[in-house]
């Protein structure tokens, strides 16, 4: 059991952090060029030169290109009709068609953004090249200068690592403590404890503290790995982070223990835990920003402890937020913890 508790999560952390990326590097491009003019060649060269695209095939048949889209061998088709160059210079405007695989709407949207960027770059070049033959008097221009704070290299890993770490310590802590309690019920050993003079709160505390320490230890372990392997910045105060984490874990372990006081066997605990955990994880904003969720979902997140911690761990580690910035979340969880723990103590009956 011990290797599972410690080794598996760490291996997972290392693998999964590398997996969670939307950085588009190899968009497979199929070009259908029925114009074969110097302009179309220049446009294609521009795409080839871009770091996002990867020219996969060059063909004359749109049907063949669509087949590639169906076979998942292409992500985008650029269809350049014949007469492309002629139109460009006689009508000053010419159309090309982009066919994008949009089953994954985010990836599809990004593909479109990148393709449009290449084309507008190309447009700028044509204007520059033909500046003398065109009656261009005052072409206005706005420079857009993006700057990415806290993470100038747009390294997604430093964002995902804290998120995945939160899930791992939650799964470990919550499942271990609740399964442990219900296992006593299943084995019948709980009766032996019930006949001892131990108080209800002492029993719950006893079932909670070991797993609370294990989970905090895993958090520390995960952070060390984050620092060493992924260079996750730790700008904020780590004591603040651990202080917050210990309150957070009280909530999650409390929920787990409460569930196990209701359930009769491990399977039930497993499924009830699992159901809540999955909902909590998906709504926590680990993959998608909480802010883009509908209003009611953000209201539901008030009872989602994961959402609080997910936000705070990233704020403290990556942006160096202080206690003042996170005090709202801190006190909410403190109240939450006392509610679920009292519920767990109240629901635990010393009778059979």
């Amino acid at each position: 059991m011990l290797p599972i508790i410690f080794l598996l999560p760490i291996v997972q952390l290392i693998i999964l952090v590398n997996a969670a990326t939307l950085e588009m590097k190899n968009i497979d491009l199929v070009v259908v060029d029925n114009d074969l003019s110097s302009s179309s060649r220049k446009l294609i060269a521009k795409f080839e030169g871009s770091k996002f695209f990867n020219l996969d095939e060059f063909t004359f048949s749109i049907e063949k290109a669509k087949q590639k889209l169906l076979k998942n061998e292409a992500d985008i088709i650029i269809n350049i009709p014949s007469g492309f160059e002629k139109d460009l210079f006689s009508e000053e405007k010419t159309k090309i068609q982009l066919l994008i695989n949009a089953i994954n709407s985010t990836a599809g949207g990004l593909t479109n953004v990148y393709a449009t960027m290449v084309i507008s770059d190309f447009n700028k070049n044509i204007i520059a090249e033909n500046i003398n033959i065109l009656p261009l008097k005052s072409y206005k221009k706005i420079n857009v200068l993006p700057s990415f704070w806290y993470n100038p290299e747009l390294n997604y890993k430093i964002y995902m690592l804290p998120g995945i770490l939160v899930i791992l310590i939650t799964v470990i802590g919550m499942f271990l403590s609740s399964l442990n309690l219900v296992r006593e019920k299943e084995m019948g050993t709980i009766e032996q404890i019930n006949v001892t003079p131990i108080k209800k709160y002492q029993f719950i505390a006893g079932k909670l503290i070991p797993f609370w320490i294990i989970a905090l230890f895993e958090l520390a372990f995960g952070l060390v790995i984050g620092k060493l392997l992924f260079q996750v910045p730790m700008i904020g105060n780590l004591f603040l982070l651990f202080g917050f984490a210990s309150v957070y874990l009280l909530v999650m372990l409390g929920i787990g223990l409460f569930i196990s006081t209701i359930a009769d066997n491990q399977q039930q605990v497993l499924f009830i835990n699992f159901f809540f955990l999955l909902v909590f994880i998906l709504m926590s904003g680990i993959f998608t920003p909480v802010e883009s969720m509908p209003e009611w979902a953000q209201k539901v997140n008030i009872v989602n402890p994961l959402a609080y911690f997910m936000k705070v761990i990233r704020m403290v580690l990556l942006k160096g937020s202080t206690f003042n910035d996170i005090k709202e979340q801190f006190f909410s969880l403190l109240v939450y913890a006392s509610i679920v723990l009292s519920l767990a103590i109240w629901r635990y009956r010393k009778v059979v």
Partner: protein, 368 residues
């Protein structure tokens, strides 16, 4: 044979006698699809931004309005000093600050060039990248507008068509993903736990000395989950179809066949896990760690596999849901037939054979 059916019946009763588990077994896929359909959205919408306008003229106002009316952004506040930049980001709600340089309109008029700075909170790199791209596109659009009456411009106008998902709904990728996740978790986790439970309780030995063959015991154990999983798969497809308009372009029979195949695969994984674990807890932790997060992250369900590091891409070939998700997407959304997915189907079959034979080898009929 009668003995076998009696055993299957007993297993069914075991599950159905516990209404809480049943409720969760059937409720989980529904809740999940609802969350994916309504809550988890990759779309950029109502992102909170702040505007730091050092110029405050009609051009900057026009651009601000254009950005805010796009539907992607919501103005959270306007700021007036550099010190506030850091404060805003540390609070955590605002994702982007748009900074107009002083005398913006004047510069644009006189020198034909002016600058806008977009400061994004890139702690979430993916979102920051998207937000900046969207803002840029809006500003370029504005530039095009102010130059339109100028002189005819030579330019290429791209016409993008979003194939297979014209409206760019995220639920299109979540339906196949949820199916894979739910089927795998329910079938594999439930079987592994229920077999491990017999071992833990010592009742496995009683079963083994009964006249039932070991094969029959295992078959009897998985039978209820085959049916449960299939019902779940159908309810996910129906929910996607009726509530979220996710189409089923291809053959329904093929879709059902592939779903069954995947359920068998999940069950064989579950059986394999149970042969290597002695207690329910071990079975459960192995199931959760080897199935839950890898299915979400390594199957190409949310994050495209080809963006991953090469070593990880090879690793993804071993993840069963990856193949199932490709098949489901092809059949449901692209409407392709077996000619396109035969390779993936063969891989699924190969994996089933692999896990079954491994389990048979590991299965012990003796006491330890």
């Amino acid at each position: 044979m009668n003995r076998f059916w009696a055993f299957v019946k007993k297993e069914f009763l075991h599950i159905f006698r516990d209404p809480r588990t049943i409720l969760i077994l059937f409720g989980m896929p529904i809740a999940q699809i609802m969350i994916f359909g309504y809550v988890v959205k990759n779309e950029i919408k109502d992102v909170r931004i702040a505007v730091y306008d050092k110029s405050k003229d009609n051009v900057t106002r026009e651009i601000t309005n254009k950005i805010l009316s796009s539907g992607y952004f919501l103005l959270s506040e306007k700021i007036d000093s550099d010190n506030e930049l850091e404060r805003i980001f540390k609070k955590g709600d605002v994702k982007e600050i748009i900074v107009f340089e002083p005398k913006f309109a004047e510069k644009l008029e006189n020198t034909n060039t002016a600058s806008i700075q977009l400061i994004a909170d890139a702690s979430d790199a993916n979102t920051a990248n998207l937000i900046v791209n969207y803002t840029q596109a809006i500003i370029y659009d504005y530039v095009k507008d102010i130059n339109s009456n100028n002189s005819p411009l030579v330019q290429i106008v791209p016409e993008a068509r979003m194939m297979f998902n014209e409206e760019m709904k995220s639920v299109y990728m979540f339906v196949p993903g949820t199916m894979a996740l739910i089927l795998l978790l329910i079938s594999a986790m439930m079987t592994s736990i229920s077999i491990a439970k017999e071992k833990e309780m010592g009742t496995m030995e009683i079963l083994l000395v009964s006249p039932l063959q070991p094969l029959q015991i295992i078959l009897g154990k998985v039978m209820p989950y085959i049916i449960l999983s299939f019902v779940n798969a159908i309810s996910i497809i129906l929910l996607g179809f009726f509530v979220f308009d996710v189409p089923i372009q291809g053959s329904i029979i093929l879709l059902m066949f592939e779903t069954m195949l995947f359920i068998f695969l999940a069950l064989s994984i579950g059986i394999f896990i149970s042969t290597v674990s002695k207690s329910q807890q071990t079975a459960m932790f192995i199931s959760i760690f080897s199935l839950m997060l890898p299915t979400i992250l390594l199957s190409g369900f949310i994050f495209p596999i080809k963006n991953m590091p090469l070593v990880l891409q090879w690793f993804c070939y071993l993840v069963p849901p990856k193949w199932f998700i490709i098949i489901i997407k092809d059949i449901m959304l692209k409407g392709t037939g077996l000619i396109y997915v035969w390779k993936e189907t063969l891989i699924l079959i190969g994996m089933i054979i692999f896990f079954i034979s491994l389990s048979v080898k590991k299965f012990k009929v003796r006491l330890e």
